[in-house]
Symmetry: C2
Subunit: 287 residues, 2 copies
């Protein structure tokens, strides 16, 4: 199975290495060619455009930055849809809008291709270790065909429904994380101000009903002053925006989600922290 | 060691049974006598007032409803402080205000008593199974003396500092839970409206970086329509109010915490849900 992979960022590079390790034949494209060096060094071939890549592949996987980048990759002049042969499977693994996933699905059917939306969680470490969670939307028969690819990249994967369902599940995931990040930040700043030992607080809270992944994983990094991105604030803001747009379209009001977007946006716009990790939310509260 | 126990609610009764199981000699008092029937049936003796109870005990434990109840138990006419002999240890395990814990500590010293604040997390099941987390404030020497009592009731306990530190840690715990409850509710209502299978969403999210205790434990109850109280909304509102008062006093603004209190207060005041479990927060979002 010839795999074309678009997007050799932190996530993509880890996923490509795991595909190669599982003996898939991988060709890559990235907007900035030098960023594909690690993937090429690991054994991937290079292609000069999404169109050329698509014409040579059985399956195309994309994981890029923003929905506009996804639009470019699939719908622009030198895009995947300009090059893919009938029967090719396209999988967008970017966290992107459910409606764009539906649009890709419809266009793929028109071109006699198959499409899945398959965003992931688990971050850079999950990509590197092949332990991603993969949330999939599309047709069952397509899902079954590419399961070996998913299994090379992830430890858990599930088909949630038709086009866009993977994206909707990922957005639900991000809403949950917004809650744990807000809760963790307010908890830690409260503990600090109250003169408690924050490490003891994290340990105690992690053993009870306040327990959550953000507190156990980001809490200790915050105490060390480590704000390096496991996941960028700028990308989380994009996800929160997509979730709010989707909630608005469904006519539900989610005030916690809006609050999270507001605080993160302030950090990005006023404190220039878009390239920091999401755990830097605590800086909103610290004077 | 003769233990006097004040408050035979759901939490207290479980804790009393575990103290009796560990061979402590337990006498109980409760405002409504019939609510002590289960404790008495388990082998506890009855006393007619906190004052009388205190005069016969080496250690007094209280776990009642609200800070005003704690005030009553310790400072009113027939209270603990009216009856306790020098050398007695008093432990308030109610989630109450840090400043009241400091006041109890100061008064205890004046009367040659010892005091700890020691609120718990882990809910009714933790109380029943002896697996509570106990967050303690007070003097180390006092903590050491009553450790066998704590070990009979909890699986994890820690001394966080002087009077009020147990309460401050418990409030930090409640802030964290406010975040997971808000996040979970908005996640589940988003998933429902998006037409996703909520059970699959909970399972998938629980395996990744959105993972948290509230989602794993309350999520399935919500899907079953089970809003029985593991923890009452009316008590959670009290905790959130205490946390906000404390944050205000420390001059920190915690908008997520305020939002949580606002939504829960609406459920209590407008929808009459004060006696429902905290997982009923999702009803705020459902039309």
């Amino acid at each position: 199975m010839k795999v074309g992979f678009i997007g050799t960022g932190v996530m993509g590079t880890g996923m490509i290495k795991n595909l190669i390790k599982a003996d898939f034949d991988v060709t890559v494209y990235n907007r900035t060619k030098t960023h594909a060096d690690a993937a090429v060094a690991a054994g991937a071939k290079w292609s000069d455009s999404p169109k050329e890549l698509a014409s040579q592949s059985d399956v195309i996987i994309s994981i890029v930055g923003f929905p506009t980048d996804v639009e470019d990759v699939y719908f622009s002049e030198h895009s995947v849809f300009a090059g893919a042969k009938p029967g090719t499977i396209v999988i967008d693994m970017t966290t992107s809008s459910p409606s764009l996933a539906e649009k890709i699905g419809a266009k793929a059917e028109e071109l006699k291709l198959e499409a899945l939306d398959a965003p992931v969680s688990g971050g850079d470490l999950g990509a590197k270790n092949g332990t991603l969670t993969i949330m999939v939307g599309g047709k069952e028969e397509t899902y079954e065909k590419v399961l070996p690819l998913f299994e090379a990249m992830g430890k858990s994967m599930h088909l949630f429904g038709s086009y866009g369902s993977g994206q909707r599940t990922k957005l639900a995931n991000q809403i949950m994380i917004a809650g744990t990040m807000l809760g963790m930040s307010e908890t830690l700043v409260f503990a600090e101000k109250a003169g408690l030992n924050s490490e003891d607080v994290i340990n105690t809270l992690s053993g009870g009903s306040a327990e959550n992944w953000s507190l156990s994983n980001y809490g200790p990094r915050i105490l060390k002053g480590d704000f390096e991105p496991g996941f960028y604030i700028k990308h989380f803001i994009k996800d929160l925006r997509l979730a709010i747009e989707e909630a608005d379209a469904m006519q539900i009001d989610l005030p916690m989600l809006k609050l999270a977007k507001q605080l993160y946006t302030k950090l990005q716009d006023e404190d220039n922290l878009g390239n920091a990790g999401t755990q830097a939310l605590i800086k909103y509260y610290r004077p």
